[in-house]
Amino acid sequence: MLQRESSFPKEALRYGLIVIVLGFIVFPIAWMIITSFKPADAIMVSPPRFLFTPTLDNYVHAIYDKNFLFYIKNTLFISVASTIIVVITGSLAAYSFARYNVGDGHILFFILSTKMFPAIAVILPYFLIFREVGRTGAGKFLGIGLDQPGALIISYTVFNLPFAIWLLVSFFQDIPRELEHSARLDGLSRLKVLAKVVCPLAAPGIAVTGVFTLIFSWNEFLFAYILTRKAASTVTVGVESFFTLQGILWGPVAAAATISVLPMLVFVLAMQRYMVRGLTFGAVRG
């Protein structure tokens, strides 16, 4: 705030500190990316080797031998589908909570409390539910069952929805009611008001919620590991196929991890312009 009188040494100190902080944040990931270009005999050596002939072998191994792009494809489909569902149903519910105060906070509290049940305790019931659903005709048709993407899409939706609704409520509350009132007076229906007036105004919030939902779905491990076997496995499970009986294949793991981070990074960077406003969760009011 009051940095107008800042002097050069002060600025230098500030940027020095920022570089240290960023170094700490980036360094493990940088080391991972460096490892992904190392030949196998340069990884587990002491002292650590910084100079080496870069190779693409690890990427070749991950993509061709381990078919890692298959997992990327699965994960992309599952997490995007789940994010879309979360954002739509979440926005509807959050709008209702924000404007009409449905359930007087109790339902909101209930929704939030479902996030507090440990995932490990629900995993077995989920397994049984999806086993049964998968045996029915509808389950087969919709692809909801064990080792099918539908099971994971639903699981991720359930687990991200409370968080999403919670974030979205404060965004919707930030939108002045007068705009809606005047739109309604212009003869727009309630749904149209929501779609044409409210949602564009809440866009940063919806974007940030989407980003977090996508990130959490993308990185989830436990559900993916229990509810899938092969056909619907995601990247976090795919990485396990690099833990072989001959040891962890560090190079290919690093390559696979680097590949799996890329889509997230691209997505987050694309959303960058919404992030600043969105990340306040509508909770900062002047």
């Binding site: 050596v45 080792d147 396990e240 833990f243 072989t244 009986l245």
Partner: protein, 451 residues
């Protein structure tokens, strides 16, 4: 329906074995019976793909291989078995898991299936067969890979004149492959050096350690300690189904005496970490280590200049007998094809191919094949002759840990008190007592032993 299938197995098996070629010709892809095999991730993937292709050529079957991380294999398989999903037709079991799967009806006995194939059963190394395939008088499948433990060491250090002389001077006997724990400990102490000190007459650039241990949070510290415990005439469980606290305490103390000469990372690693240390020239020997890692260990000879690897029986000639058992799931929709697959992968021809690719076979006929003892095969199968010796030394050995239906759960819990002691948080006595308490909790009293 299922029982009918089981009765018809014998006949059906005969049919498939007499007319495989005719069947393959008639087979179109749409007719292929799908069976799924859950196995360890990255398990000789290429070799296994060839073997599977070989099986598919002879049988009208499509085999799906599901790769699972070793540490997750057990619970993933149990969930599918408990859920009776039939998703896995053929499962891969660790030695300690066999009794649980058999006792709880997760897998089908194959005694009848093998009734007319006695020769094939007899070919499995008897020591291994006794521990991995048999439970309560039935045969439950075939082991297709063994990671029985032995002793892997840097032979070049043992042959070095200056080291030999120094060792003799210090301990009053010749430096040689250890046959007793005391010798093993002496050697570990002898080779533990700081950076700057000499090894083989040359100054060390980094610290060097006498022994590599697997005391990390993985179920491998118990494999190492099994060797100590068994060689002292004890077992993890008495015939009454209880942990012999005094014996475990003594074994733990012996293990702790060795911990002093292991690199600090011993507390966080498992076998792959030990192999990395070996390949980077940080350790002189292992304790009681999985011999299937031999092809891996031998690469030390290229990564460390002047290194030469050796393999021998573990000191005191008792070690963990590990094998991956292939068994057929009780919820399999195609048990007959699944059993054919087990018999094929565990059979002589497939095992020969597997061994050529560097896999550690379970069959006597393969292990003793002269081709694998030839010098040019040393880097892949140099450990086969040692394995034969181990199987011979341990002939007739049984452990109650492998004969209790709670074996898998005990096995998956044991490392907790043992690692606590290895890390120095509790002493050996406390670890043994904690282990006894945990085991009693798991079994709900004394553990039932099913012989």
């Amino acid at each position: 329906m299922k029982s009918m299938l089981k009765k018809g197995l014998l006949v059906a098996a005969l049919m498939t074995s007499t007319a495989p070629v005719a069947m393959a010709q008639e087979c179109v892809d749409a007719d292929r019976v799908p069976i799924t095999w859950s196995t360890i991730a990255g398990f000789y993937t290429d070799a296994m793909a060839n073997l599977v292709a070989g099986f598919e050529a002879k049988n009208c079957v499509k085999v799906n291989v599901v790769n699972i991380d070793n540490s997750q294999l057990y619970n993933k398989q149990v969930i599918e078995m408990v859920g009776q999903t039939g998703a896995y037709d053929v499962v891969t079991l660790e030695t300690s898991e066999k009794a649980e799967f058999a006792e709880n009806g997760f897998i089908l006995p194959m005694t009848d299936y093998f009734a007319d194939k006695k020769a094939q059963l007899d070919d499995v190394a008897p020591t291994l067969a006794a521990l991995t395939t048999q439970y309560k008088g039935d045969v439950w499948g075939l082991p297709y890979y063994t990671y029985t433990a032995g002793y892997i060491y840097r032979a070049d250090l043992f042959e070095d004149a200056t080291e030999k002389e120094a060792f003799k001077k210090r301990f009053n006997y010749d430096l040689a492959v250890p046959t007793t724990w005391a010798q093993h400990r002496d050697i570990a102490e002898f080779f533990t050096r700081k950076a700057g000190e000499n090894l083989k007459g040359e100054a060390l650039a980094k610290d060097f350690y006498g022994v590599g241990l697997m005391a990390g949070p993985f179920p491998e510290i118990q494999d190492e300690m099994s060797g100590v415990l068994w060689s002292q005439g004890a077992d993890w469980l008495t015939d009454e189904g209880k942990v012999p606290v005094d014996a475990v305490e003594k074994a733990m103390n012996d293990y702790l005496a060795l911990m002093k000469f292991a690199p600090p990372a011993a507390l966080t690693v498992t076998y792959d970490g030990v192999m990395n240390q070996m390949k980077d020239g940080q350790i002189a020997q292992t304790y009681s280590f999985f011999l299937d890692q031999w092809p891996n260990a031998v690469t030390t000879e290229t990564s460390v200049p002047g290194a030469k690897m050796g393999v021998a029986e573990a000191p005191e000639k008792k070690a963990y007998i590990g094998g991956f058992l292939l068994a057929v799931s009780a919820s399999s929709a195609h048990p007959q094809e699944a059993m054919d697959f087990v018999a094929y992968i565990g059979g002589h021809d497939a095992q020969m191919e597997f061994a050529k690719a560097g896999g550690t076979s379970t069959l006597m006929s393969v292990l003793s094949d002269p081709a694998f003892a030839a010098p040019e095969s040393r880097t892949k199968t140099g450990h086969f002759s040692t394995l034969l010796k181990i199987f011979d030394s341990m002939k007739g050995f049984r452990s109650n840990l492998f004969d209790t239906p709670f074996g898998a759960k005990i096995y998956n819990t044991m490392q907790i008190p043992l690692q606590s002691a290895a890390a120095g948080q509790i002493d050996a006595r406390a670890a043994a007592e904690q282990l006894a308490a945990e085991v009693e909790k798991i079994c709900g009293g004394p553990c039932p032993i099913g012989k």
